[in-house]
């Protein structure tokens, strides 16, 4: 084990690229390779995976024994926790609940990602966004959304 400082950012980047390469590479082996005259569906991806694996390894190798020149910085945990579920929630409920309630709750979830947002302003914002979007997208542009879905007892 070396005691020298390592560039952890680049080590992580190298490992991530190698992991992606391994994933695509393993999947590609299950596909027909073909010949270089008639390339099969697996040919090009297999070549790319090998290249990516190599690049990842070089990035990893170069990071060893080199100090990290830039700190990793803070991670937006709260952002990840609330921003990422917002589109997923919208996707899961837009058909069932309908456009209006799904969008309202989606905006409400997303707004929680900021520590500065107060409950009342979040509520007002979500209402305004929902009304404006319904007017613009549903009535104005005529996108084919059901405004209220079958899950609601209306």
């Amino acid at each position: 084990m070396s005691t020298k400082p390592n560039d952890t950012t680049d080590i992580a980047a190298g490992l991530l690229f190698m992991a992606f390469a391994a994933f695509f590479g393993l999947q590609a082996t299950g596909l027909e390779m073909g010949t270089s005259l008639r390339m099969g569906p697996g040919y090009f991806p297999a070549v790319l995976s090998a290249v990516l694996f190599l690049l990842g390894a070089v990035i990893l190798f170069k990071a060893l024994g080199r100090p990290d020149d830039e700190p990793f910085g803070r991670i937006a945990w709260r952002g990840i926790l609330f921003i990422l579920p917002a589109p997923i929630f919208f996707g899961l409920t837009v058909r069932g609940l309908g456009f209006v309630p799904a969008l309202f709750i989606t905006t409400l979830i997303a707004s929680q990602a900021s520590v500065r947002m107060r409950p009342l302003s979040a509520l007002v914002l979500a209402i305004v966004v929902t009304i404006m979007s319904t007017l613009i997208f549903s009535y104005g542009l005529g996108l084919p959304f059901r405004r209220f879905g079958p899950w609601l007892p209306l």
Binding site: D10, F17, Q27, P41, P45, V58, L92, L125, V129
Partner: protein, 502 residues
């Protein structure tokens, strides 16, 4: 006088009432998102793409183009007033523009940026009109091998122009290419990398990937550290530059326009490079290089002209070859495909009204920007005081609606979340997203042309080097790669990027 009659046709199309209105909406929207930090042209165009399905092809492309160059204008306002580039191409403007604002010359800086951009936009529009048709004639001679080599060059350029490590940018391109392979193989119909999810059989949705990697990742980065922005609003007293200042800006604007026009054509993000290059040139040529970084007028006039010229001429490869020069142009291809137009050299001959209409609308859009922006500057400044925690929930709502409406696919929204996380992780690991997205778009095209070229040459890989155009393009790409790995150039490149970050 083919050019004149073509331009007349274009202006006829672009000046219809509806198209004028869409051009106006586009440039206003573009300025708005350019002014607001934290949401870029790429994410906005991605979100609005599905909505343009309802419009006429010409109108939708005119509006989307307007968003793109409008954002270049708006970005400079933010750069000058709060020292934070609204768009990456105005990063250089922030260096001297913000210093001018601190000296109470914010109005002059804003006006200089607007006038320089307008002049550059006008020249570049004519360049597009003059050079696109002959280039199209060349492009029609392109075979599969030439297209393959051209795309390789585009990808290599995007690597050379990315911030930070060249190796990581290369890895991002390859990862993008692999992600582009997801879906059904065009030749054999075999599903690839879909993990058994039938919704991914048509490939990952491009809009979802773009919104995730550019939009959501950017929001997460902004949420890391919530702080107030200092806006230099009280200092806008005098907008129009004095005669002396006008004289000072003529040469930088002309040089910036020239640099921007040439670099914009190159695939891989010309507008950004153009503004860096122009800044370096101005500093070299200036009689007072010590003024740079302390509020030099030339440091605003040159780069601003260059990035607008570059933004304009980056339409040339799109309109002639059907190959995107940057992620925004990739989205424009998406918009054309949605409308049933096959991008490529045939657009000029088959859809002259569309082609010349877009070209003419660029000039009209630039005129609108100058006329609107100087009087409206107060409004844009007010917008800057809207706190970020109000903005991002709105952006998230628009993201969700935009992505879902592409083809009402729930899995696209899962992809948005997934790619948002991936984009954020990659940006934390200091990997640039632009090469990834370009690789993602070009991946399927690259593979198709590679396979076709190999079949045409009966499995002989030397076809790429025995055909002259293809060989030239490959040699150029190799030269670029060698250049960025040379220690001396590498150091210089790092300096340029550090300067822009500072």
């Amino acid at each position: 006088m083919d050019l004149l009659s073509n331009l007349a046709l274009g202006f006829g199309v672009a000046s219809s009432l509806a198209n004028l209105a869409f051009c106006l909406i586009g440039v206003l929207l573009g300025t708005l998102i350019g002014v607001l930090p934290g949401i870029g042209a790429t994410a906005t165009i991605a979100m609005l793409l599905p909505i343009t399905f309802q419009l006429e092809p010409v109108s939708s492309l005119i509006m989307l183009a307007g968003i793109y160059y409008g954002a270049q204008y708006g970005g400079s306002t933010t750069a000058i007033l709060i020292n934070m580039p609204g768009e990456s191409s105005s990063a250089v403007t922030a260096i001297d523009g913000y210093q001018m604002a601190r000296q109470g010359r914010a109005g002059t800086a804003l006006a200089t940026a607007a006038i320089g951009s307008f002049f550059a936009g006008t020249v570049a529009t004519f360049l597009v009109a003059i050079f696109a048709p002959p280039l199209t004639a060349i492009a029609l001679k392109f075979g599969a091998a030439e297209y393959f080599s051209l795309m390789v060059m585009g990808l290599v350029m995007s690597v050379a122009l990315a911030h930070g490590s060249v190796l990581k940018a290369l890895a991002m391109v390859v990862l993008g290419l692999l992600l582009g392979m997801v879906g059904t193989d065009v030749y054999t119909g075999a599903p690839r990398f879909t993990m058994g999810i039938t919704q991914f059989a048509d490939g990952l949705n491009f809009v979802a990937v773009a919104v995730g990697v550019f939009g959501i990742a950017e929001i997460l980065r902004n949420l890391e550290d919530e702080h107030d922005r200092e806006v230099m609003t009280k200092n806008i007293s005098r907008l129009f530059p004095t005669r002396d200042e006008f004289r000072q800006m003529i040469a930088p604007v002309l040089r910036g326009t020239g640099i921007g026009s040439v670099l914009g054509i190159l695939p891989g993000g010309g507008a950004i490079l153009a503004s860096f290059a122009s800044y370096t040139v101005e500093k070299k040529l200036s009689k007072h290089p010590e003024e740079f970084g302390k509020g030099a007028l030339a440091g605003v006039a040159g780069p601003e002209s260059a990035n607008n010229a570059g933004a304009q001429t980056s339409f040339i490869p799109l309109l002639t070859l059907g190959i995107p020069a940057n992620p925004v142009m990739a989205l424009m291809i998406g918009a054309m495909i949605i409308q049933g137009i096959v991008p490529g050299p045939n657009v000029v001959s088959e859809q002259p009204a569309l082609f010349w209409g877009i070209v003419a609308s660029m000039w009209i859009g630039n005129l609108m920007l100058v006329v609107l922006n100087l009087p409206l500057i107060g409004l844009w400044v007010k917008l800057l005081t809207v706190p970020y925690y109000i903005l991002f929930p709105i952006i998230m709502a628009m993201c969700s609606i935009g992505v879902y409406s592409v083809n009402s696919n729930t899995y696209d929204l899962f992809a948005v979340a997934g790619f948002g996380l991936l984009g954020y992780v990659l940006s934390k690991l200091r990997c640039e997203p632009a090469p990834l997205l370009l690789g993602f778009v070009l991946g399927p095209l690259l593979e198709e042309n590679l396979r076709r070229a190999m079949i045409l040459s009966r499995g002989d890989p030397t076809t790429f080097v025995t055909r002259p155009i293809s060989a030239t393009l490959l040699v150029l790409s190799l030269a670029i790669l060698v250049l960025v790995f040379l220690p001396q150039i590498r150091k210089r490149r790092d300096e340029v990027f550090t300067e822009s970050d500072g």
